[in-house]
Amino acid sequence: MKVTIDNLTKKFGDVVGVEDLTLHIDDGEFVAFLGPSGCGKTTTLLTLAGIYRPTDGEIRFGERIVNQVQPKDRNIGMVFQSYALYPHMTVFQNIAYPLKLKRVAKNIQHERVQQVANVMGIGNLLDRRPGQLSGGQQQRVALGRALVKEPDILLFDEPLSNLDARLRLTMRGEIKHLQKDLGITSIYVTHDQVEAMTMADRIAVMNGGHLQAFDSPDELYSRPKTLFVAGFVGNPPMNFVSVDVSGSNGSYIAEADSLRLEVGQERGGPPAGYDGAVVMGIRPEDIQISENGNVSGEIFIVEPLGREDLIDVRVGPHSFLLLENTESQRQSGERVNLKFDMQKAQFFDPQTEKSLLWQ
């Protein structure tokens, strides 16, 4: 089912939860709401669920405006961070509860619950109470309960945050697979960008109650439209440095203190036209330690990540994070030359924080 959010605003007294949010989600799409805590993503989700009434704007499920529709009449399923299982009911009763409320016949209830439980791999736990299950099993029960009534829309509120790292990886794959299989429009709230990048078809990045960007993971990563998106998406985060870009005729120079970098026509043109300093962003993987690099710096600290080392190099007053093969055995204090891949550099307007390259 298509979900359309038009100019949605939700305020709690004077506190703005989310402001002027417009999003169009296609049928069967998996959308992630990504942002730091307090950015309004959960507020948006609960407004979609009907727990909160919108202060302003319009929400449509398909063609139906649901602003005033009660949660129970929206036919949505939701999975909570805390699982929110009913502790006094068995797993069976938990999963069957939505069906019971819909007055589905007892034998059909049994059939459907067993079916869902088998899909979730908890078919043998139906007689237990939630307190007797592990975190992963509880999560599966919660998912089963959300799925059993065949919802039009599935809502996830940071469902994996309480699981351990390994289980999180497994559940991530399972949820994505299940969603693709069932084709249910899903909205997934998370503050973990890896989750959002790996699972979602499109990611809505939010900050301070505003939508920052709404794009596919690839697009967000390689063509960030705002400074916030560039900084928030990607791990380790993008390096930022304030530079002056000057030049003409296809050859541009980005300059900052001791730093002098050549930029090509495609990336150098727009920032050169900007009056004053701009913010240049460059991802760690686009900087290499190389003999023939033209920027000289000193290694400040080396953080081994296992597969590679995260190295913090100081160039004058600036600090750059970059990734380097562990075999090179870098030590802090070592002097190195850096090579910047300026074809991947991003430029942002320091005032509006919008990208100068992509609009």
Partner: protein
């Protein structure tokens, strides 16, 4: 010195301690014992010398501090023995002779210290005692005078050896009773003794003298008791200590319950011992219970069933209404935002602290007026169980509302949201999802309300004057008021009768109280 060096040094000191000589241990034991004695002395001094007079300034009786001081002084040697024995306990199972010798030696030394203190301050066994200055013994006929101190009080009153004392004034006494009277007397208190000399019954007034002879032999039982006590402490398994303390504290309660139960099944009790009419052990009877159901106690005629029913009606109505209103109000206060919520919350708290007694007369008038309204007056007016229950409910509600609000506050919002999204209405969420989770709370409040209603006295006694409506506590009071002499065994039976439903209630509630749900939500289980 480096941190490491310091740590190393400390461990060294500890090992030295562990391998210390017997003398070293003895010094440690004595030091601990003396320190604990000094602490208790200081506590006693603070109680009687500082806090007591402060109480007296506010013209409050300072008997509490007196009792506590005496308790501290009484416990003083034993606490010292325990402190000393605790040193010996480290060898109890590894080197028993050493532990015993250490404990006994330190006990003797501490005992001597205490004895010197008692001797110096005329305390304990050396305290001056009221005395009649004659030796007495209990015989069949009465208390026989065995010897008389020449020139003493008895001699002055011209008592003679062989006299048999039967009474003080008109009160029959035995030796124990006489000694009790004596211990409560002061110097020069006249005791008019009746006694039999030959065939004559005579009467003489003996003036109590104060015997301040210090007899060292009186110390011996104390020493023996102290040594036995120490040996017990040395061999006492450590994990028993809390139980012993608890049993000690509970003993008075248990004795009370024991008496109530024994008394209801006997004609007469002397202390805890049931007696028949010839003062012999026995005299068990069911008459006390029978007369409750027959409805006649010492001429007071009654029917127990309406009284029981009134009690039950008050308790049940109260439990039901309190649970219903508190849980719903608690839910609203916990989950909803409405004007005046904060005011309401603080106001109920103030109401809870409000002394209900001060409202007795205004509510009396309100109930009286309510009683004049047709139909409603029949249900909740003056002289009705409903009216009494309503007043009791009103006094119970502030506590209940706060308690329930607290329980609802502990249920995560997500649980409720989840139920709403699953398709439940708000009412159903409250009823099917939230209420089951606060079942322990409901049960606790229910028990409070039920017991409160069942044992209610002041309010039923005030608002059911001169009518047939009375509950068990009111009836119990009537029983004491209107029968003379009061048959306490009968009163005990009615009291125990009142206890039975509560007892049953608890047996069933116990099972539910222990069956507390856990888990289901991360972080809140």
């Amino acid at each position: 010195m480096s941190l490491r060096g310091e740590l190393f040094d400390r461990t060294k000191i500890k090992t030295e301690e562990a391998s210390a000589s017997l003398q070293g241990d003895l010094v440690e034991a004595l030091r601990l014992g003396v320190i604990s004695m000094l602490v208790l002395l200081l506590a006693g001094f603070l109680l009687s010398g500082v806090i007591g007079p402060l109480f007296a300034l506010g013209s409050v009786e300072e008997t509490v501090t007196d009792v506590l001081t005496r308790l501290a002084l009484l416990a003083l040697p034993f606490v010292a023995y325990i402190a000393a024995a605790s040193v010996a306990r480290r060898y109890t199972w590894t080197d028993t002779p050493r532990a015993l010798s250490l404990a006994l030696t330190s006990t003797v030394l501490l005992f001597l210290l205490v004895a010197v203190g008692h001797y110096a301050f005329d305390y304990g066994v050396f305290a001056p005692r009221p005395s009649l200055e004659m030796t007495l013994s209990q015989t069949e006929a009465g208390i026989r005078v065995e010897a008389i101190a020449p020139g003493g009080a008895a001699d002055m009153a011209e008592m003679q050896v062989g006299d048999v004392i039967t009474a003080i004034r008109r009160d029959q006494v035995d030796l124990a009773a006489l000694n009790l009277r004596l211990s409560q007397s002061e110097e020069d208190t006249p005791l008019r003794l009746r006694f039999i000399r030959g065939d004559e019954e005579l009467q003489e007034t003996v003036r109590v003298a104060i015997d301040s002879d210090k007899q060292l032999s009186a110390l011996l039982p104390g020493l023996i008791f102290g040594l036995v006590f120490t040996v017990v402490i040395v061999f006492l398994p450590g994990q028993w200590a809390p139980y012993i303390a608890l049993v000690g504290l509970m003993t008075p309660l248990l004795v009370g319950y024991f008496w109530v139960i024994v008394a209801t099944f006997s004609y007469r009790t002397e202390g805890l011992i049931p007696l028949d009419s010839n003062d012999n052990f026995g005299g068990f009877t069911l008459e006390n219970w029978e007369s409750i159901f027959v409805g006649n106690i010492a001429g007071l005629e009654f029917n127990i069933w309406p009284i029981l029913l009134t009690s039950l009606a008050i308790a049940v109505i109260m439990t039901f209404v309190v649970l219903l209103v508190s849980s719903m109000a608690g839910y609203a206060l916990s989950r909803m935002n409405f004007p005046g919520r904060r005011f309401f919350l603080s106001f109920t708290l103030i109401l809870h602290g409000f002394p209900a007694i001060t409202l007795l007369i205004p509510i009396f008038i309100v109930l009286l007026r309510l009683g004049n309204i047709p139909i409603i007056g029949e249900l909740i007016g003056f002289n009705t169980a409903g009216g009494i229950a309503m007043v009791m409910v009103a006094f119970q509600l502030p506590l209940g509302v706060w308690l329930m609000k607290g329980f609802f506050d502990n249920i995560p919002w997500d649980m409720e949201r989840s139920a709403l999204i699953d398709g439940a209405s708000r009412w159903r969420t409250y009823w099917e999802i939230l209420l089951p989770q606060i079942r322990p709370g409901l049960l606790a409040l229910g028990i409070f309300a039920f017991i409160g209603g069942w044992n209610a006295y002041i309010i039923p006694a005030t608002y059911s004057i001169g009518s047939g409506v009375s509950n068990l506590p009111v009836f119990l009071n009537e029983l004491i008021d209107e029968t003379a002499p009061v048959d306490w065994n009968q009163v005990a039976a009615v009291g125990l009768f009142q206890l039975i439903p509560i007892f049953i209630f608890f047996i069933f509630a116990q099972e539910y109280l222990l069956n507390i749900y856990a888990g289901g939500t991360k972080g809140s289980s």
